[in-house]
Subunit: 564 residues, 2 copies
């Protein structure tokens, strides 16, 4: 179902809060949509101007009007008017990254933690290209990441200058909506539209391409107050269909999106207690509230065999904000779906309905018991001994402070962590959503920008870290309370696991292309090269000590965990 959205198309003057909340319907919409004003909506921050605004200023002030207060940027010449617009818009803080994948990954982390649209500023086609892998992850996470990409002046595109590329085509695979500004007079509307399309359900990355001559033109139309449509209310028929399945038994409930935040988990707990259903999460949830007081549903395993085995008993699989559980890869003689062959998939709610709200409605329809504090789960003791992956995961689960944000891109080394952390003090968990490794460090950077007072932790594979290792510099520049634990096992272990799984005998090429040991990476030196303190640990005791030190002292720290 297409999303509804509402844009401020009405005329307005700079400095006034826009009040014309006209709902605009997209093709195919028949549902009645109710709009509410979101906390993110606030009066536009504008300054008195002695001359008309530029197109770039209208775009940036429209973003500020939507509550966007940070811009993760790696600009070039074609974005200089946007940079100048940031100079004149103190409400948006520019944060520099030295690689675009850090910008888009950080915007994703920021959006996941705040639940609001986040902004990335990128340089033409190649800058967008470098940001695309983490936009792919953002798309799979349904993160409202708004990218502004500078483009040559419209009249210069045909000259096919060195930096010319087909930006729109490039953007489409990773953005759910792409728009090229066509006129300086509509740039405010354009910006408002990409923000609305990102920020309202179904949320996801969108891209605005802004040619130079549209950026530098002086325009007469003021910035626009973007209107992000509120979610549609739960649908009684959908709720009843799910309730029937739950009453029939043999039902699993898979949560994602807002269903994995506190209210969603509490509603799922009510439903579980009322019906005995099995509550599960995807292998890689975008963001999940966890720890003491909350239920800790099992993850669907990564490997298709145990995943299929887990889901086999369930005749009905209800999806609350989650996609159908499918295998990560298609292997010979397997199938895509992980659910029982005779099972039935039930979508709890349409894409424009908030899954947590739908779960609460479902719990009510089931006359489920009230919200409770979930029983405490065991927390690992502080471990000791050889630094195995399991001990590393235990050490983190035992040490993480209350309020932590844990970004998990630990891959094979970190697989055990999720199951161990349910008994930790309340925290927020995030995972790699699109399988494009190199999301962990940038996403943690964005999370730490969104919540500077919360300790942020990134559990990061050594191979994965290297795609966006430049993130470390932004951690240092912003003096983030961010602890990166590099799980150093000196290999793309997941590939060696996949070779074994496929019963392939690795030859010279297979060994060479999965090894990260010749030479070894020195992550302490890499950290220091980027301005971050680094510490190598070789025993579990050393790791425990490093974690204590990390959570006590401000600023970023990288821990190179040399795994056995």
């Amino acid at each position: 179902m297409a999303a509804s959205y509402a844009l401020g198309h009405g005329k307005q003057r700079s400095g006034r809060t826009y009040a014309g909340w006209q709902p605009v319907r997209l093709g195919g919409m028949t549902r009645t949509i109710q709009y509410r004003k979101r906390a993110a909506d606030r009066p536009m921050e504008t300054q008195p101007h002695s001359q008309p605004l530029t197109g770039a200023e209208v775009a940036i002030q429209t973003a500020a009007a939507a509550g966007i207060d940070v811009c993760f940027a790696n600009p070039g010449t074609t974005e200089l008017y946007l940079v100048q617009a940031l100079d004149r818009c103190p409400g948006i803080k520019p944060i520099l990254a030295v690689f675009e994948g850090v910008c888009t990954g950080a915007a994703d982390g920021y959006a996941r933690v705040t639940g609001r649209p986040a902004l990335a500023l990128l340089h033409l086609g190649p800058g967008l290209a470098n940001g695309q892998a983490n936009l792919h992850n953002a798309r799979k996470a349904h993160s409202p990441v708004v990218s502004i990409v500078g483009e040559h002046a419209t009249w210069h595109i045909a000259a096919n200058a060195p930096l010319t590329a087909d930006i729109e085509t490039l953007a489409r695979p990773m953005s759910q909506f792409v728009l090229t500004a066509k006129s300086p007079d509509t740039v405010g509307q354009d910006m408002a539209e990409v923000i609305a399309r990102a920020g309202q359900l179904p949320t996801g990355p969108t891209t605005l391409i802004l040619p130079g001559d549209i950026q530098w033109a002086h325009v007469t139309t003021p910035p626009v107050q973007p209107q992000i449509a509120a979610p549609a209310p739960p649908d009684a028929d959908e709720t009843e269909r799910a309730a029937r399945a739950l009453r029939a038994g043999q039902t699993a409930l898979v949560l994602s999106g807002s269903a994995l935040r506190t209210a969603g988990l509490q509603a799922a707990d009510r439903i579980e207690r009322a019906t005995g259903c099995r509550v599960l999460t995807p292998t890689f949830p975008p963001i999940q509230d966890r720890g003491i007081g909350l239920i800790s549903p099992d993850k669907i395993p990564y490997a298709p065999e145990p995943a299929t085995q887990l889901l086999e008993p369930y005749k009905n699989v209800i999806l609350a904000g989650a996609h159908e559980p499918v295998a990560f890869f298609g292997y010979p003689n397997t199938r895509s779906s992980l659910c029982a062959e005779d099972g039935q998939l039930i979508q709890l709610c349409s894409a424009d309905i908030d899954p947590a709200t739908a779960l609460a409605a479902l719990a009510d329809a089931l006359d489920a018991p009230a919200v409770r504090t979930a029983p405490a789960l065991p927390r690992p003791e502080v471990p000791s001994g050889p630094l195995t992956p399991a001990n590393m995961c235990r050490a983190l689960a035992a040490a993480q402070p209350e309020g932590a944000i844990v970004m998990d891109e630990g891959a094979t080394a970190g697989f055990a962590y999720h199951g161990m952390a349910g008994g930790a003090p309340p925290f927020t968990y995030m995972a790699l959503t699109g399988g494009s490794i190199g999301q962990g460090l940038p996403c943690a950077v964005g999370a730490a920008v969104a919540a500077p007072d919360r300790p942020t932790i990134c559990l990061e594979g050594d191979g994965s870290s290297l795609y966006t290792i430049q993130s470390l510099w932004t951690m240092a520049r912003e003096q983030q309370n961010l602890t990166s634990i590099i799980c150093k096992n000196r290999a793309y272990s997941i590939l060696r696991w996949e070779l074994e799984r496929a019963k392939m005998t690795p030859g010279e090429a297979s060994l060479a292309l999965t090894a990260l040991d010749s030479p070894e990476f020195d992550f302490v030196k890499l950290a220091e090269g980027f301005g971050v303190e680094g510490r190598a640990v070789h025993t579990t005791e050393e790791l425990n000590e490093a974690l204590q030190s990390a959570f006590k002292n401000p600023g970023p720290l990288l821990i190179e965990a040399n795994l056995e």
Copy 2:
């Protein structure tokens, strides 16, 4: 004009050299094409097999049959059958990079130096995305880079698993030809086609998308001997049109492609002596033979004002393998073309004709004097004193050994180098072609793989280096004779120059987004973190000494040049 190409569609058996050189015409071709066997074409390297080949093996052996002997790879699970095929194809050496932009940039450098198609192996859409910025540069360099991108099994794509993306759409902006394999039985033909489309004029990057089930299927059709069509012969009418312009005077001759290799420069020298024309090169030539014995044409300047001034006197501008000289960016109140408004652009030859050959024919048509050894140009003395950008450039031009390959991504700090190096011993020069910074280090890696016995030098901006800093690890792993000089000026200086040029007053955001000084990067530690020796120099004397040491000792070295 569309390229001609010829593929081995005829039936053949594994192990036999393909002999049926059937020319295949593309739509619109009317010209008679002559084919010749290239040095790169050689009998297929195949091994006796006890069972039928897989689709992946047919693809890899088809690449080997085209003379491809290196694969720059960052594979994932969907490429494991291709990796296994490399295990069984000793003729292709796999070279691992830990970021895909290094793979594609290295393939570009390899292709520029060898003049032959180079292979990159990438992981699904996100892996391709990470390689796209350097494929953009390769496209602007007309480098025959062949990317193989693994894809989910065809039946798994609809499941929309985490790594699923629209790879074809993503690939198109940066590849001149994109093909998704549709059947295991035609995978050899598909591979031969992407190689041919990359390797014959007009050369450029191409992409083959290879689904898992096509990789792992056992196929009955053998590998194919790719046929790369030889260039078309010069066209007498085109030659005569250019000769008329040259005879009329006030003519500039802009060289690129093969026109910048030794034979092309010698022919241009003959033409210059016959007609008094001005010979020029683009601001960023893909690859150029230089040094003692060769003419050293001036570059068209980067800034539009001096470039326009340079070209103003020329009524005719003949393009020999070059594109029309256009401004790098479109600025307010400027135009795209750099040529005189009443000037005439003349294409020396169509895109399927070799520019160096066309230049030789043109020289003959003009009864130009014979090839000579060009008069020696001055070479800078070994400089001393403060480490200014000019002294850094002088130091390199004074020290570089015979046979060097110099990759120039020095940006503002390195702008003076090109003009100083004409009197150095014979060497090969390469530049950033598509404006997507982050090409220098990877391109140098590929050049050093192509010519391991030649000293390779990368003059690299500090900001630019950080996009693909992971290149250092591959330098260490391959123990390359590669010296990277990082021009450390602690800023995106080109952007500050552009701000000044546009008379913009930088505010807080403009300053923050162009500064690389808080914290400073420690490139020596970064190098060591990746396994490369690093050395910081602060004076010209220290730089001179570091360069001497670099050219004397084998293996990679990074020199952090702290510029005044």
